[in-house]
Symmetry: C2
Subunit: 344 residues, 2 copies
């Protein structure tokens, strides 16, 4: 297996055919990533439309194209993705596997990306289950939530591994030293939760190399109480979507409230720019997307509706994770856990 985390030299393999606005917005995002962030990018997909799109940006010589004639549909499930070994996402994974790219970025179907990534890149040695991590818009730095949906059923041991995956994310991409870990459940006392969470609490409390801060609850997703929040993929996904929906709801209600009266409307106009900036900061696209952690290579899952800005943010996140060696860091973190202390 080649070293896939060589700092800052390998390009990002960008799946140009995945996403609601592929390939045009994906190509535009690649151009932004190269020109604004200095990130080398390789586009993977059907050469002709990609060449045409690149020509429109006068970027033909800046961004190479790697041929992949097939593409996964946005509603492709795990099975469909396995039947297409030459899909753009599969080819992008192969570039990472062969050491020709540092990380994969795709705005395609999450189920398709997860299935393809697991098959083509395989789990890192010792990883029970890869997990999807997302960065929540807390300050001063984002909070990592995982698993956000890759594993609807888990065992307690997997939650401990998720803690290590999330800690490696926080350490490498967010520059957090000794990340504090919280376990998402329904009360602060250790005995609060379902059976799996209660057992995970015991395991996390005893796990070496983890700064376990104890249980956290739903309102802690955005409180910044911890750096990493661990959950099974069912709970994590519900919590993430609830958070997104609730923030959207609050802004919509606020907008309506402001528009209802003239005095308030005048007030609203005066602060429109500020509110727009805030809205942008809370926008999931701004953070580049979700990351599939635990494979022999980094896979960033951009929002399916991502436009150029979202795609370039995803490339930036992928480049940072790759350059700071998140795969290596996960390997280091899980290594001692794999070797129990023996009494001789």
């Amino acid at each position: 297996m080649p070293e896939t985390d060589a700092p800052g030299v390998l390009p990002i393999a960008l799946d140009a055919m995945g996403g609601d606005h592929a390939p045009d917005e994906i190509v535009a995002g690649a151009v932004q990533a190269v020109r604004e962030h200095g990130i080398p990018v390789v586009l993977v997909g059907a050469p002709r439309p990609l060449a045409e799109a690149l020509a429109q940006h006068d970027a033909t010589t800046e961004i190479p194209i790697v041929r992949a004639e097939e593409a996964l549909a946005m509603d492709a499930g795990a099975l469909a993705s396995l039947r297409r070994p030459r899909s753009s996402i599969a080819v992008a994974c192969h570039l990472v596997r062969r050491g020709e790219a540092g990380a994969v970025v795709s705005a395609g179907s999450t189920a398709g990306i997860v299935a393809t990534g697991k098959l083509r890149l395989r789990s890192q040695h010792g990883v029970l289950r890869p997990a999807i991590a997302v960065a929540l818009p807390t300050r001063p730095h984002p909070t990592v939530l995982l698993d956000a949906g890759a594993n609807a059923e888990v065992k307690p041991e997997m939650l401990v591994q998720f803690a290590h995956l999330g800690a490696a994310y926080a350490e490498t991409a967010l520059d957090v030293e000794a990340p504090r870990i919280g376990l998402l459940t329904i009360g602060s006392e250790p005995e609060k939760g379902n059976k799996i969470v209660k057992r995970a609490h015991e395991l996390l409390s005893a796990a070496p190399g983890l700064d376990f801060a104890g249980n956290v609850e739903g309102h802690d997703l955005l409180s910044g109480a911890v750096d990493v929040i661990v959950a099974d993929g069912f709970t994590g996904n519900v919590a993430l979507k609830t958070m997104e929906g609730s923030v959207r709801f609050a802004f919509a209600e606020l907008h309506e409230t402001i528009m209802e009266s003239r005095t308030a409307r005048v007030g609203g106009l005066l602060q429109r720019r500020r509110i727009r900036e805030l809205h942008r900061r809370l926008d999931p696209e701004a953070h580049g997307g979700a990351v599939l952690l635990g494979l022999n290579g980094t896979v960033v899952i951009a929002h399916g509706a991502a436009r150029a800005k979202g795609v370039s943010a995803a490339c930036l996140l992928a480049a940072r994770l790759s350059a700071h060696g998140v795969v290596t860091r996960i390997g280091e973190r899980l290594a001692p856990a794999r070797r129990p202390h023996l009494p001789w």
Copy 2:
């Protein structure tokens, strides 16, 4: 078992000793409920301080006191509550059981209320597990979410019953005809979710007397897509607290944004009243609190930090549920489910 849902005549048994601001704010809430909403209330607790508090409102003749010398601590768990058969919450439950009150309201510890309610009022015939329902601030009418935390572990059959409990709540307290039911999970397709949810989807699809609209996701909590959202108590609790935390976060960020610049601040002042009104509408206290459904009597769990306004809103909700016969309605809804159609 007496009829506990006789419309609009029985008083609310208000636990005057439960809550962070008991007994003063509880008594003030009782006075509000009586004077502003015309709801008869009985205060349950230590007679002397209650009599003094009532005197301060000149309400001595308006609100009777029922003696209960003990009270549960705010951090009381299930066990502690069972050891105190003469606690104010236990006595309040007895008033309902004996047909002397229509419903219980308490701002005490949720665990204590749930344990006491289950022991003193017992589950309705055919109810597998009582559940906690909350009303989410959607428009034109609230969305009922349950279970919000009474059952961290469930079986698929319980989720079907929760649908009936929630439907009865929507029909009686919110005037929703033929409530649409959604199952909280991680994707719209029937096969999305964990094992319990997938089996519950099958059962709900086949259940008579339920308008099952299919799966809903986290962002549907506040979208108004359905009238009742069903979840296990672990997921429901995490989702509810995530929603509350996210709305609070959005408002806090907004406030900070408005205060950061002078232009925006002037704008903020112009709309302060509107925003305050909105904040109030989204305030969980305004909706009276959570309801423990499935017992032989209605129990409303007011917010632990509830002040007079929250307590009177809880009494209003309890009176509405009691007057519209939520207990009877649940019995009717579950009756056909208990008697399978036989082929002769």
